[in-house]
């Protein structure tokens, strides 16, 4: 049996099904690792040890009795600490919610419990999924397992750090302007922002209602597809939830890319912004790999990145201010400075600005759908730069907005970040593969083909 810390969902599921691995043994091994190393990584806010051991014991007993439920039965996972689990604190990494204990499960927690998943704990985040990295909150920001002096990206920082560090095989994060894909990129793992409406947000603290999504972080594409398949589907408790059927997203994983039409959005990182040469080089190389595997890779032109960014900024700033206005009036000092400074501009956005942003959003969607008529998926960079040093505030501030993730939030379409190599100093590099609305399956198919050919998923960070 391979090291439990680095075992993925698919491999562990096979062993658990055959009763060669006990979920209790799995959970205990992962906690031993995080107990030894999380004092440096800071991925966990609140381990749910008692609950995890109970759920693992129940899974073991049920499987022994012939009641195996499927690929997630007995599999440990973490939740970004804006996602509710009944009886467990949800803090959003903020003093504002100190003492808040969730009364009910979020829809995704319900679905993972029903699938037999084992909740290991609540993971660190940028405060309310927006401000960070912050050093003035009750918990420190996570550190990047590939280099503890470097930034994880955000806002699903703890979820990504825990998966990258081998504390968990999988975790859920949220993505409003790139918050699953950013930390996945900087921590060298796989992160998916599904189609808007694909996964219920009931029981997830909002950042910006019209952009919020919940998505999985894993070390492999297959594991990611398994987890998203488990949490996708209609929920009448979320007003944005789609009625689109949720298929088995791992079913076509091994179909390959021969004949697939892939659009390379080069202008995002060559003209609209200039990516770091190691980032641009790795993405170009990855596109070359997809072409060698039989895909037809051709340039794809969308609207310029700045237009997407202006749209996204206006929507997030306005909607987030509406969420936080009461607390900003009554308890401004309970926010960390970083989040407060990001929220306050929302007071000044006029209604007409917001309406123009939503008008722009529609035009961007129309242009994308027209341009994508000739393509199955699109490929581009994720972050423009490798991970910056976490304590270099200027470098974090410079690199934070240099990304190409916001377009796919504005468009509402699925986009996945996956590793495409490492810098000369050993820090992760990443690209995005985006698809048409509700076509996560083709995104996973292309990503899996690249992943199997490139082999980056086998590399481990120098920790523990």
């Amino acid at each position: 049996m391979s090291d439990l810390a680095w075992m993925g969902i698919a491999e562990a599921a096979a062993l658990i099904r055959e009763r060669r691995l006990s979920p209790v043994e799995y959970v205990e091994a992962l906690y031993r690792r995080s107990d030894a190393l999380d004092g440096d990584v800071h991925a966990y806010i609140h381990p749910t040890r008692e609950l995890a051991l109970r759920q693992a014991g129940e899974a073991a007993a049920e499987i022994a009795g012939g009641g195996y439920r499927g690929a997630l039965h007995g599999i440990p996972y973490g939740l970004k600490d804006i996602i509710d689990c009944a009886g467990v604190p949800t803090t959003a990494h903020s003093r504002i919610l100190a003492g808040n204990v969730a009364a009910t499960d979020a829809a995704v927690t319900e679905r993972l419990s029903a699938a037999g998943g084992v909740l290991m704990g609540k993971m660190a985040t940028h405060e309310f999924a927006l401000g960070g990295p912050s050093f003035d909150l009750p918990w420190p920001p996570p550190r990047n397992p590939w280099s503890l002096d470097h930034f994880t990206g955000g806002s699903s920082s703890g979820s990504a750090a825990a998966v990258a560090a081998g504390f968990l095989p999988a975790a859920l994060g949220t993505d409003t302007g790139g918050s699953v894909r950013g930390p996945a990129s900087l921590c060298g793992i796989v992160g998916m922002k599904p189609t808007y409406g694909r996964v219920s947000r009931r029981g997830v603290f909002p950042l910006a209602f019209s952009l919020d999504t919940v998505g999985p972080l894993t070390r492999s594409v297959e594991d990611n597809a398994l987890l998203l398949s488990a949490i996708a589907g209609h929920d009448p408790g979320d007003p944005a939830s789609s009625r689109e059927p949720a298929p088995d997203l791992a079913a076509d994983l091994r179909a390959g890319v021969r004949g697939l039409r892939i659009g390379l959005i080069r202008h995002f990182y060559a003209d609209d912004m200039e990516a770091h040469p190691e980032v641009a080089g790795a993405v170009e190389e990855a596109a070359g790999v997809l072409a060698r595997l039989g895909a037809r890779v051709e340039p794809l032109e969308l609207e310029r990145l700045g237009l997407y960014a202006a749209c996204s900024r206006t929507l997030i700033t306005s909607e987030a201010y509406a969420v936080h206005e009461r607390w900003l009036r009554e308890r401004p000092g309970d926010y960390g400075a970083s989040l407060r400074q990001r929220l306050l501009p929302g007071a000044f956005v006029r209604a007409v600005d917001y309406v123009h942003a939503v008008r722009l959003r529609r035009e961007l969607v129309e242009q994308f759908e027209s341009a994508m008529g000739a393509f199955d998926v699109a490929v581009t960079v994720s972050s423009m730069d490798p991970p910056p040093p976490i304590e270099d505030a200027d470098e974090v501030a410079r690199t934070y907005p240099r990304q190409a993730r916001q377009p796919f939030n504005v468009l509402g379409v699925p986009a996945l970040a996956l590793p495409v190599g490492f810098t000369r100093s050993g820090l992760p590099l990443s690209m995005q593969i985006a698809g048409r609305a509700f076509d996560e399956a083709t995104v996973y198919r292309a990503a899996h083909a690249y992943e199997q050919e490139a082999g980056w998923a086998a590399r481990r960070p120098p920790i523990g």
Binding site: P332, P345, F348, D353, R362, E369
Partner: protein
């Protein structure tokens, strides 16, 4: 910054008072004034010349905006 936004410190403090943001420390009021100045960057690049009848995407159906 487009017309119609707050510019002077007096305007910004009066706006804070009017909108119930009355618990700020002097440092937080400074952040608020900075946020008002930052509006120019925030809104830079947002197009405004839409046809008068141009319908926005509908918030919870943004994904389905095209062609409807």
């Amino acid at each position: 910054m487009p017309e119609g936004y707050l510019r002077t410190r007096e305007e910004i403090e009066a706006f804070a008072e009017r909108t119930g943001l009355t618990s700020f420390t002097p440092e937080q009021m400074e952040e608020f004034a900075h946020a008002a100045r930052y509006m120019g960057d925030l809104l830079a690049g947002l197009p405004r010349a839409f046809p008068a009848t141009r319908e926005p995407a509908h918030v919870f159906r943004a994904r389905e905006g095209a062609g409807e």
